[in-house]
């Protein structure tokens, strides 16, 4: 079957003892769309009684001097940006890219922590090693002004024995020519979050181009895998919410924000049909998940 969900191991937060006094949390969503709603619902379900949650579906509605809030949990970039510019309250910015966290913490001085949406490079490379052990020529196409830490990626790939090819997009008009060039000496295309390249308008022709060259695309989400990417490693809103709940509980206990964190929980999805037609013999999502856990020794 096309889609295999990886194991989603939800932490049993109820077991945590709850001694701190009641905490008032404002959850500010970037939008009222599905992923944010799912996050809000899941976040509340994972909290013990005694933590009061107030959900704002529009970040514009957030008032910076809210007296009834101890901690603001922002969900997504838009909420994080608006809230951090408007308040001095402690913020847990969930579901934001690690690059965005760096930018926000530089801009405004206040207690700020984050639960990133992106997976650490080391974990992604461990998965690459487990899924495609024979593939070493990794190409990465990126915008010239990308904020994604491609220097870090290049360094990690090289350290692990890969021969990465990084190709900067010259312009939107040259996307396919640049893609072809990036793939020329490569055996796998590694997608990074970059909306100038990987958007719903381009994904079709990107996937068709990679497939023509018999080069697998490594995606960023279940949607990539459904569309035709070989596999993806990602965290669902539920998984990020569970980790955020844990961080909120810890804050309630210590009144201190923990360090920003990469996702502890993640899902691996594999498109076995694409693997078969590319002649790739790839392990099941469950087995890959185990291998990644072993290789990275847990969360990192």
């Amino acid at each position: 079957m096309r889609v295999l969900l990886g194991a989603i191991c939800l932490l049993c937060l109820a077991e945590l003892s709850w001694a701190a006094e009641a905490l008032r949390v404002s959850v500010v969503l970037s939008d009222s769309n599905a992923p944010y709603q799912t996050f809000a619902k899941s976040f509340q379900q994972n909290l013990p009684a005694g933590i009061h949650v107030h959900v704002l579906e529009r970040p514009e509605d957030f008032s910076g001097d809210a007296q009834d809030t101890d901690l603001v949990v922002t969900v997504g970039v838009k909420a994080a940006e608006l809230v951090s510019a408007n308040t001095r309250l402690p913020i847990l910015a969930a579901m934001i890219p690690s690059s965005k966290y760096a930018e926000l913490s530089e801009k405004h001085a206040r207690p700020l922590s984050a639960i990133f949406i992106d997976q650490p490079w080391a974990r992604q490379i461990s998965l690459l090693q487990a899924a495609l052990p024979g593939h070493h020529k990794v190409s990465v196409l990126h915008s010239s002004d990308t904020r994604t830490d491609i220097t870090g990626l290049r360094k990690k790939l090289t350290e692990r024995g890969y021969k990465p090819v990084f190709k900067a997009l010259r312009s939107n008009a040259t996307l396919y020519a640049d893609l072809e060039e990036a793939m020329e000496n490569s055996d796998v295309l590694f997608a990074i979050p970059d909306n100038a390249i990987y958007n719903s308008g381009n994904i079709r022709n990107i996937l068709l181009s990679t497939y023509r060259r018999r080069i697998p695309l490594i995606g960023l989400s279940q949607a990539y895998v459904n569309a035709g990417a070989l596999y993806a490693i990602f965290s669902t809103p539920e998984q990020l919410a569970a980790q955020s709940s844990k961080a909120a509980v810890a804050f309630a206990k210590s009144a201190k924000l923990s360090e920003p964190q990469y996702p502890e929980l993640y899902t691996i999805a594999v498109n076995q049909e694409v693997a078969r037609t590319l002649g790739l013999n790839i392990s099941s999502a469950e087995l890959l998940h185990m291998q990644v856990e072993q290789a990275s020794g847990g969360t990192r």
Binding site: S99, T174, L220, P237, T277
Partner: protein, 709 residues
């Protein structure tokens, strides 16, 4: 205050959201992870891996096409084990499997993007008239062995499936110019664009060459005056265009629109039957002249993705080909300015619907139905009474088919399928197939299969105009020997208006095979091996009464293998080899008086066996040297053979040929890129002759300059 800051902060996110599609690149967000995409690589997009195919399959991909250096499509099939590629004239190719046939290779199905271009009414594929260039091809899949269950009728020997480039696969502009010896002169321009909802590409091309070399010395060490000398008049000029568009308005529907046109002029005819001082009274009804062809097609396809990866695929296509010729002739030594005028018009409409339905995680069913209508309209006139002969009729056929792919266990894949058809002559046949693929490890597969396929009798066989000969002979009894040639003049076949071989049945092929596919990643090698036994029954031949009849039977036993190896420094090697033995009841039919089976050479007892090369091989090696320089070379070998229906002069000795291609790319020239490539065919000038001995192939070379921007 800077301009940026006059915007209230709360308005900024709205602007960001509105510009989501064209956000600046540094604005990565969770939307990059939670955006929705359409299913792109759906079932109809995915190629079947060779290890899961129910038949032996050879894939010729773009890399191989480029490395081969070939500029015509039929030549590409020299890279398929066991394939026989030859030419009746410089541009009248025929491609067959299991040895030579006559000039009409009737037993292969040929498809372009699912549209059959084998025209049963004219009994052949007009390769020179296809409105595509080699460069328009993305990939070719060749099924070796009958595959009626999934590819319809007339696939008794195998199926050639040509897949052209996607509409979105040719973005930008590209101009290519080729100049070479033997009149090689090709120009093509291609442009296209890929967008969010609409992709298109278009090719305009002109191709020309002077065909084969002139034979100036006796072929095959045959002494004495050979009439075939200086007999090649086989130039070809084609002007063509093709267009493909893909409209995908939403995530569920995809519309494919294609059309194309080809105007082709071929040099045809032979001068060896012209009267000469030695033979002053010869008749030649096929003197040197030009054959004009206009052919075109339109294809509309609709693919709808349904729930649970199911898919509905509907396709309509219209094909037409209009050909005409005009020639003077010699009758019994006398020049007749004539002229003989002939035209042949064929048209086809076909509609097919197919439903791909995953029944479970491990079982997928594909079923559907198709209806086809062929129209033929042919006419000739000759300055004899009766001056005009014509033939005009329609045939209709339909078929229903189903194919099931069942993964019984991860190791075991069972393919079963069948097609039921009612052909244009009213024959009803069912062609079943069953194949079991056993992956005894993920990298090693054993395949066992058996299948049945039928071939509809062709127009040539069903309506051979022997009645016209009898009528002319009755009118001109004193000129009977000239009438023997004048009843079927020129290059076009104008059939009889009525069925002259009324009792013909479809030919039947039963095929059995065992195949092995292995991958050896430690040695960067893969191996494809198969042994087969194909049994032809009810084979059609022309009887001594000049009526076509069933009754030939033949058995083909053989072994085929393909080995691929990648070298450390980027070299790619493909080696194909085929060993085949054929036998037939030809000797018995000859003994019963059937002259068709009389061997052209005394050492050949069975003409079918003699026309099947015992061993054939091809080898293709390509290597990228440095970053912008590439080199490839190919070697082709074919054992000696005597073409089925040709005379002893046309004996084909062992063929050996080496081709090379070297190319240099230009990249660092801003937005313009280019390539210069030199191809030399038959590098060592091992001059060999083809199906007809005056088709002499000497060394030739050409240079191609390509510019992309």
């Amino acid at each position: 205050m800077s301009f940026r800051n006059i915007w209230p902060m709360s308005a900024l996110p709205l602007i960001l959201l509105a510009c989501h599609g064209a956000r600046a690149a540094d604005n990565t967000s969770e939307l990059d992870y939670y955006q929705d995409f359409p299913v792109v690589l759906s079932a109809s997009r995915l190629y079947q891996p060779q290890s899961e195919a129910p038949n032996a399959m050879t894939v010729i991909d773009r890399k191989m096409i480029v490395a081969s250096g070939f500029r015509t499509i039929p030549d590409l099939f020299k890279l398929v084990p066991g394939m026989y590629v030859s030419y009746y004239k410089g541009s009248q190719a025929f491609v067959s499997y299991h040895g030579a046939t006559d000039q009409y290779a009737r037993r292969m199905q040929v498809m372009i993007d699912g549209r059959s271009v084998y025209l049963p009414p004219v009994s052949m594929v007009s390769w020179a008239n296809l409105p595509i260039t080699v460069d328009d091809i993305e990939r070719i899949e060749v099924i070796r062995g009958p595959s009626a269950a999934s590819h319809g009728a007339n696939s008794t020997q195998g199926v050639i499936s040509i897949i052209t480039r996607d509409a979105g696969a040719a973005t930008g502009r590209r101009v290519s110019v080729t100049r070479g010896s033997k009149g090689i002169n090709d120009v093509s321009a291609r442009f296209g664009s890929a967008g969010e909802k609409f992709d298109y590409r278009m090719t305009l091309a002109y191709t020309a060459d002077n065909g084969y070399d002139d034979l100036t010395t006796n072929p095959n060490n045959i002494s004495g005056g050979v009439s075939l000398l200086n007999n090649s008049h086989d130039s070809n000029q084609a002007r063509l265009l093709n267009y493909r568009a893909d409209y995908h308005p939403n995530s569920a529907d995809r519309f494919d629109l294609q059309f194309g046109f080809n105007h082709d002029v071929q040099g045809v005819g032979f001068n060896d039957r012209n009267p000469s001082p030695i033979f002053p009274t010869l008749t030649n009804a096929n003197t040197l002249h030009d054959l004009f062809s206009n052919s075109g097609f339109l294809q509309l396809g609709w693919i709808r993705l349904l729930e649970n990866n199911a898919e509905l695929n509907v396709r309509y296509s219209h094909l037409r080909q209009d050909q005409h010729e005009s020639l003077s002739y010699f009758e019994s030594g006398t020049f007749v300015p004539g002229p003989i005028l002939q035209y042949l018009k064929t048209a086809r409409d076909e509609v097919e619907a197919q439903h791909t339905l995953p029944l479970s995680v491990s079982n997928r069913l594909v079923y559907g139905a198709a209806y086809r209508a062929d129209h033929i309209n042919a006419q000739g006139s000759i300055p004899l009474a009766p001056p005009v002969y014509a033939s005009s009729f329609n045939t209709n056929e339909y078929r229903v088919f189903a194919h099931d792919e069942w993964r019984i266990t991860p190791q075991l894949l069972l393919n079963t399928g069948a097609m039921f058809e009612r052909n244009g002559m009213g024959h009803e046949r069912t062609s079943p197939r069953v194949a079991l693929n056993f992956h005894f490890t993920p990298r090693h597969t054993l395949r066992m299969g058996t299948s049945v396929a039928y071939r509809t009798p062709s127009l040539v066989e069903e309506r051979y105009p022997i009645d016209r000969y009898l009528a002319l002979r009755a009118l001109y009894p004193a000129r009977a020997s000239a009438m023997r040639l004048l009843y079927l003049p020129g290059a076009l076949f104008v059939s009889s208006k009525s069925v002259t071989s009324p009792n013909l049945r479809p030919e039947k092929m039963v095929s059995q095979e065992i195949g092995y596919l292995g991958e050896f990643p430690d040695w960067a090698t893969s191996l494809d091996l198969r042994v087969f036994r194909d049994q032809l029954n009810d084979g059609i031949y022309i009887a001594s009464t000049n009526v076509f009849t069933n009754g030939m039977s033949a058995v083909y036993n053989g072994l085929e293998t393909t080995l691929k190896h990648s070298f450390d420094k980027g070299g790619e090697l493909t080696v194909n080899f085929a060993h085949e033995l054929a036998s037939s009841n030809g000797p018995a039919l000859l003994a019963s008086g059937q002259r068709t089976f009389r061997p052209a050479r005394p050492e050949i007892a069975d003409i079918l066996s003699g026309s099947t090369p015992r061993n054939s091989a091809s080898l293709l090696y390509s290597q990228r040297v440095a970053d912008t320089f590439s080199f490839s070379t190919a070697y082709y070998y074919q054992d000696s053979m005597q073409p089925f229906d040709r005379g002893f002069l046309d004996y084909q000795p062992i063929q050996r040929r080496v081709d090379v291609r070297i190319a240099k790319e230009f990249r660092d020239t801003g937005s313009i890129k280019g390539e210069v490539a030199l191809v030399v065919q038959n590098l060592f000038d091992q001059g060999y002759t083809e199906y007809i001995a005056n088709n002499l192939f000497n060394r030739r070379g050409y240079v191609t300059l390509t510019v992309n921007w």
